[in-house]
Amino acid sequence: MSQVSVTELSKELRQAIEQLETSGKIDEVGVVIRIGDGVAWVHGLRKAGFSEVLQIETEDGIVEAFALNLLEDEIGAVLLGEDAQVKAGQTVRLKGTVLDVPVGPELLGRVVDPLGRPLDGGPAIKTKARGIVEREAAGVMDRKSVHEPLMTGIVSIDAMFPIGRGQRELIIGDRQTGKTALAIDTMINQAKQKTGVINVYVAIGQKLSKIARLVDRLKHEGVMDQTIVVATSPSDPASLLYLAPYSGTAMGEYFRDNKGHALMIYDDLTKHAVAYRQMSLLLRRPPGREAYPGDVFYLHSRLLERSAKLSDDLGAGSLTALPIIETQAGDISAYIPTNVISITDGQIFLETDLFYQGIRPAISAGLSVSRVGGAAQTKAVKGVSGNLKLGLSQFRELASFTQFGSDLDDATKKQIDRGQRLTELLKQPQYQPLSVWQQVASIAAVTGGHFDHIPAANIKPAQEAVLTKLWADHKKAMQTLDEGDKPTEATEKVIAETAKKVAKGFED
């Protein structure tokens, strides 16, 4: 328990008393007429605005709610807490503000709920600023095209589907295919490469044990100092699950608007849509396809539109989004997946089959795409990863034919051999993101044909050996390469020679 200072407590109490209204003010009030399933129906308050905060006076204190349904005769308000204390007949007041949350660097390293209240047992969070939860996205003139890379440290992503700062890249796949793992690795890489990017991880209806594990891992990797975790569990009211991504975005926007860079991870928007469906049905809004309300597209489009690369006039900050969507049996043509695919600037599709074949991360080269990241790819990686995606896609097509054991011509055989080596190279253990020079050297070793005589099973040890030798013998050149510029001829030569030398030790 934190130490209690009597002086501070009395100061707080005096301030709180001073803040209390003492003038004879006439407030507009309403009354709760019905309550149930986290939704309160309020009579009166005709001046209430959409999304405005209402305060319900209960015997145990004030419970807040926000107005979502403004009807002719009554207001449908979603409670921001438990509904056990709220009863019909209780007085309701307008708070006079829309929902806002504490924002600022004080939140770094903390686990909070969607209203900014600490969940980690730490001290109360006192920030200098507050951010509006439902804020409008930046306009056209406030933006700049995406041009700076956001390195994930995952070779297959940085080489084939590069992500830029300010981009929205969807991570999509069935359950247990490594979607969250990709997001965590990306967060870890921001700390390892000291990019200065702030991570905001929004857990929507995730098991608390999973969140606890994630926080432990982030602490262990030293990432928590530059991370904010906004957590909601399946036992929280649907209103909190609905608010979580918007609150998290408000927290991320603080850094974007102050010339910083932030990375948002929404884990996952499928559960968010389900929470919104629950709220909408309880508010008696007409159900549409799969019982989702008509504005479920707008739910996600207005959220993801807030991710942006700001113009130089506004400080050139950025907010990158990695939303996660869970599919059922790989069906990406379901309602919510197609919505989010069309909103985002590309998607990374994770396949169950690849995952169980041991190809991890199980990224599908054919179905994944990055629509704007090409402009943001580091020259170094771009220089060596030219037709990596095409080669890998063709290999996976051809590989299915080889199962029949038919005779193949030399060119096809060569393509398959190279594909097998590439696949091995792109396998990457969890929590081990690679830096730019490591990625460039690894890809160059395989695409340059230096590993062509190494059996596929020896590719990973050979890669490690090359990287160790390069760092030991040519540290300065590798540090220069790590800055992201296109490798010089001399550097390319050094990598090629080292790869050739090392490869000899791993041949059959």
Partner: protein, 133 residues
């Protein structure tokens, strides 16, 4: 089939009739018949509230005054003046109640409005503020 009348329309009609001098008994009988026929009896308390609000909007404020101790005539006159001035009321009628659970101060409940100067509410506000911190 007849269109379902909203509560707002019903309350406006009742207020119109009352202001036109039709007896309250006749108007309520008419309203009760309508609610019974349309199976909307469960809305009757809400409609009464709506009628109160509609009358208040037209300048007839009918409400209640709650206090922990009896208030002086001077205080009551000041409260009535405040309501007349702030809500542009033509007439104000307040029923008085003594409620020791308010601890101190007073509360005026009007249709759609409230003046709450009770110690009880201030303590509840403090409690909530400290719970948030």
């Amino acid at each position: 089939m007849a269109r379902r009348l909203s509560r707002r329309l019903l309350s406006t009609y009742v207020a119109d009739q009352l202001q036109a001098g039709v007896s309250a008994h006749d108007v309520m009988l008419q309203l009760a018949a309508y609610l019974l026929q349309n199976r909307r009896l469960n809305e009757h308390t809400l409609i009464v509230r709506d009628v109160e609000m509609e009358l208040a909007r037209r300048g007839q404020q009918v409400g209640s005054l709650h206090s922990a101790f009896p208030l002086s005539d001077q205080t009551k006159a000041a409260i009535t003046d405040l309501i007349t001035r702030e809500l542009d009321a033509k007439s104000v009628s307040l029923d008085e109640f003594i409620d020791p659970s308010l601890v101190g101060g007073y509360r005026v409940d009007l249709p759609g409005h409230q003046i709450d100067q009770t110690i009880k509410t201030q303590l509840t506000t403090l409690k909530t503020q400290f719970r948030k911190a």
